[in-house]
Amino acid sequence: MPVVKGVGYSLIHAPNILYHNGTTQTSERKKNPQSEYLAKLANHLRSYETALAYAPNQVYIGNIGMDELRSIPRPWYSSPVAKADRFGPYGEIMPEDEFYGLIKIADSFDLVRLEAEFSAAVKAKLARHRYLGNELIKRLSDGKELAQIQKLVDDQGAEGLFIAGRLVGCVRSAHEIDENLSAHVMLENLVTKASSLLPLFYLLTTAGAKPADIDYIIECSEEACGDMNQRGGGNFAKAIGELAGLVNASGSDVRGFCAGPVHAILQAASLVKSGVFKNVAVVGGGSAAKLGMNGKDHVNKNLPVLEDMLGTFALLIAADDGFNPVIRLDVVGKHNIGTGSSPQQVMTALVAEPAAKLNLKLGDIDHFSAEMQNPEITEPAGAGNVPEANYKMIAALAVMAGEIARGEILQFVEKHGLIGFAPTQGHIPSGVPALGYFRDQILAGRAKTCMLIGKGSLFLGRMTNLFDGLSLVIDKNPGLKPAETGISRDAVRQLIAEALRDMAQNLKRG
């Protein structure tokens, strides 16, 4: 069975990209440039230090456990973490200036220009980064004069890169008229590509893998790269792998709105189980478009704009090692085209049916991870506590199955649910951020079976009103059977017989 051999999770604090490139802000600038929201927004942006000390962000990189988050009083933005660290066991939280350097490193077509002094300062910082080797740092070429960058922004439609309102660089358009290669789209795509590098580097470390070990990459972020002749042509996966030195890998991109990552994991696990590949990396970079998506509600309610983090992750799905948690492929929960789209039908298909097929009660599943959005972001926007709503639905299914009484719903939620902590980056909250936690819990013997649930709203693409979802059961590894260890029973018998014969001969000689 395929295993989850390692995980990487990183965040990038990106308040200036939020301000200039998030779609809520760009739409407002087009429709209502003098709006009160835009006037107030800058005063609601967080500093890097504030974002670093925000408890859900520390959970994301693994410095704070789920149980600890539960005990930190809300609002979390008023309860900064005392020992906030940039680096954690799963990854890091990168500041925006260094990320601009990473965008330049990820730029293969000389579209990114950084101001000379800024570029030199960022290069010095990134040169000290634990995972960026000389080959990557060398790609940060000498910067350009500010006047030249300003001209590109003013006259040629380049997208500015800012730090605290100061222009420090730009991303140029890659084509005269093709909207798919416009400066705006190129910035979004470069953000995705560059941000994917971070979790990938941490993944290789946690999994104890070398870049050359990876056979295939499945990329599952929010964007599509292509041109006017093929809008979503791809291939982010190979572009990212090239940068990370995964020289033996090929790859491709998988999409499914927020359910994309679980589709990607399913495909990765299937490729491993079939024996086609041994090591498949699943990677998702951050979404610039979704930064500040609910900013209007946050500003209206006088809150900090909390959607200032680009979320990223990378996973290594590998051949069975007898140790790491396994991804069950004998039973997969899936929302079929004929399933129906009511929440009850969706949750029955994704949770109750696969559990029943595995002869599991819902209460036998230690933890579920569905939509792990941070409630502090969604509640002010009127969307409620999304993970809690999911857990209540699962508990209600347990009531309908006669497992628990109706009065035990909240206890079920408390026992099997997790607190939402993920940035609302679409694909990021959808099940995957808890996979690291699942892996740790299972390896520590504190959990045996967990369920990963991805859900996607396909109507957003205006091609269908169907819903979408997939779920996977992650289990404790039962250990390799003798046949899988490479030594057969007969071989063991033969080894014992030879040892006994040697011993008898030695005794004779003695």
Partner: protein, 106 residues
Amino acid sequence: MDLQNQARIKELTEQYGGENIVMLLGGAEPESASIAAETVTVGDPTFAGPLAGVSLGLKVYHVVEPEIKAEFDPKVYEEQVAMMEMVLDVDNLVAEVAKMRQEGSK
């Protein structure tokens, strides 16, 4: 309520007449349900969409309201809504939508 949905509702109302349309909500949050109900009765409170300043006065209900539940085949309701009925804040949802209905439905 998103702008496309507002446009569709406005169009349907013009086509069939408001008296022939019942707006059925299924949202989970009382606050959002209230805004949706307000949008199709007195008009879009955010003044962003096609229903800004347009009072359609539609009859609006949430699917968990008793009048609506009574219209269902109990088996269908059990299969499609019973789980959510257990989870939702039914009292508040009903109160919010009923309030907008009383204030704005024609």
